[in-house]
């Protein structure tokens, strides 16, 4: 990894307006940004809609290409693209998860997953796109299997969290599921036996150097052997596992705490995302975006990560979601309670 020295800068490319309520979450379409396909992402909001944004290849500017509405009857809290970029899943406070099919830029709702008792808060596809996980206020995590004809069948309902589950995230390469909750824990779930036997295989909580308040989000590094979590306890925590054991499939490779990044945030950290080249972005309730990188020298708090930059007043209100783009450029999108989305580019002076 190259070092990020000097006056690196997070430059605002565009401020996107359209949502009429707070914007909760963002998801870049993984099948865009290469081979001449313009970059695209989805955003979801308290205004009950989902918007699809696409970059114009000529002007480089972003336009809203579609508004997905009149399906969800309450806040859309989270969205996720299938690995192929063909399907978009949206989780809503109306207790349903909708599946939208992308047909040449038009989006049709092809399936609605019902099962959660109330607010659905998180949704995630596994690496192959064969499984979908959802989580919510009813403290449960549901795993769904994609069937032919856009049918989704419930494989398992996972109960273990004692409070609201804020987010679910599949591991980037292995079928292991991670969930984080208002109960301060991160839980790791795996299919233990023959089939459909999903069990909690590890709980990362306070006794093993975990968080002491709500865990809002988590993200993996490119190799998938490190994970970063963010919390209401004002820290980011980095965890790692034995990649060889995990990839071999011979039993479960437990995760262990590496370090905590404390002293950088003074308000709740809602979102964290690890870029392919190793930059950790965080979005917090102090309206700022911060970037961290691994460093060779040990810092004061013993962590091996240092603050690369802090963008104050990135938004007028809480930053709910930060997501790095696929493709060549170092683009970051952020979503906020102020109802806007911003697209940023990380530039170093030499590129100016």
């Amino acid at each position: 990894m190259e070092s990020f020295e000097g006056n690196i800068e997070l430059r605002e490319i565009q401020r996107l307006e359209g949502h009429t309520d707070r914007v909760w979450s963002l998801a870049w379409n993984p099948a865009t940004g290469h081979a001449g396909i313009p970059l695209s992402f989805a955003s979801c909001s308290g205004d009950k809609t989902v918007r699809i944004w696409e970059q114009n290849l000529t002007s480089g500017l972003w336009n809203c290409k579609a508004v997905l509405e009149e399906t969800h009857t309450r806040t859309v809290r989270s969205c996720a693209w299938s690995p192929s970029g063909k399907l978009l899943a949206t989780a809503s406070f109306d207790a349903t998860t909708a599946i939208w099919e992308n047909v040449g830029g038009d989006f049709d709702c092809v399936s609605t997953l019902e099962g959660h008792e109330n607010e659905v808060k998180g949704v995630s596809w596994n690496a192959s796109g064969s499984l979908l996980a959802t989580c919510g206020r009813d403290k449960s995590v549901w795993i769904w299997e994609v069937q032919p004809g856009n049918e989704f069948e419930c494989v398992s309902v996972l109960q273990g969290h004692t409070q609201d589950v804020k987010m679910v995230q599949w591991h980037p390469t292995v079928d292991i599921l991670f969930s984080c909750s208002y109960d301060n824990n991160v839980k790791v779930w795996a299919d233990e036996g023959d089939s459909d036997d999903w069990q909690c295989v590890q709980t990362l909580g306070e006794p093993n150097n975990g968080h002491t308040s709500t865990v809002w989000a988590l993200s993996f590094n490119a190799r998938g052997d490190k994970m970063v979590t963010c919390s209401d306890d004002l820290t980011l925590k980095v965890w790692e596992t034995d990649n060889t054991v995990m990839q071999s499939g011979d039993g479960f490779a437990p995760w262990r705490h590496v370090c905590s990044l404390s002293g950088y945030h003074d308000r709740t950290i809602f979102s964290v995302h690890w870029s392919r080249e190793g930059i950790i972005a965080s979005g917090a309730a102090d309206d700022a975006i911060r970037l961290f990188v691994e460093s060779n020298e040990n810092s004061a708090d013993g962590s091996r990560y240092k603050l690369l930059l802090k963008k104050e007043k990135a938004h007028d209100m809480d930053v709910n979601s930060v997501q790095w783009s696929p493709g060549e450029k170092r683009l970051l999108a952020s979503a906020s309670d102020d109802g806007t989305i911003k697209v940023w580019e990380l530039v170093s002076p030499s590129q100016c």
Binding site: T75, G115, E117, N118, R137, C154, S156
Partner: protein, 137 residues
């Protein structure tokens, strides 16, 4: 001094009498109250188990008519529900397994309903979390 014995014991005597009377009344009232709670809880449990049994019977009838009407995963869920219903110790309410079996039943029921795209309920169907009107985030 024997003259004052009864006076000295007066407080104790009143206390004992009062206690006995209260205990007797309490036993009657408590038994009545317990009976009411028992009837209510027993009815609720019976109603819920009966509801699940009814659903399982109808689904199994459908499977007998057309063995391929449901996916194997749904059929497994229905089978597991049937086993749980048979295992439920109806005549032994103090059995510690009661809650565990009921929780598993509710879970399997939710999964089967979700896969069949049906929402089945009856008046008084238990909702695990009461709907509160707090701010959501």
């Amino acid at each position: 001094m024997a003259l004052f014995d009864s006076t000295i014991n007066l407080e104790q005597t009143h206390y004992t009498e009062g206690y006995d009377e209260g205990h007797k009344d309490g036993q009657i009232a408590g038994k009545e109250e317990g009976r009411e709670v028992g009837l209510k809880t027993g009815f609720e449990v019976g109603e819920e188990l009966g509801f699940y049994k009814g659903c399982v019977d109808v689904w199994n009838s459908a499977i007998r008519v057309d063995p391929n009407c449901f996916s194997s995963r749904v059929k497994l869920g229905i089978k597991q529900m049937k086993e749980l219903l048979e295992k439920y110790p109806i005549m032994d309410p103090e059995n510690l397994q009661v809650q565990e079996i009921m929780d598993s039943l509710r879970l399997k029921f939710k999964m089967v309903c979700s896969s069949l795209h049906v929402r089945l309920e009856y008046d008084g169907y238990p909702k695990s979390s009461a709907d509160t009107h707090d701010i959501e985030f």
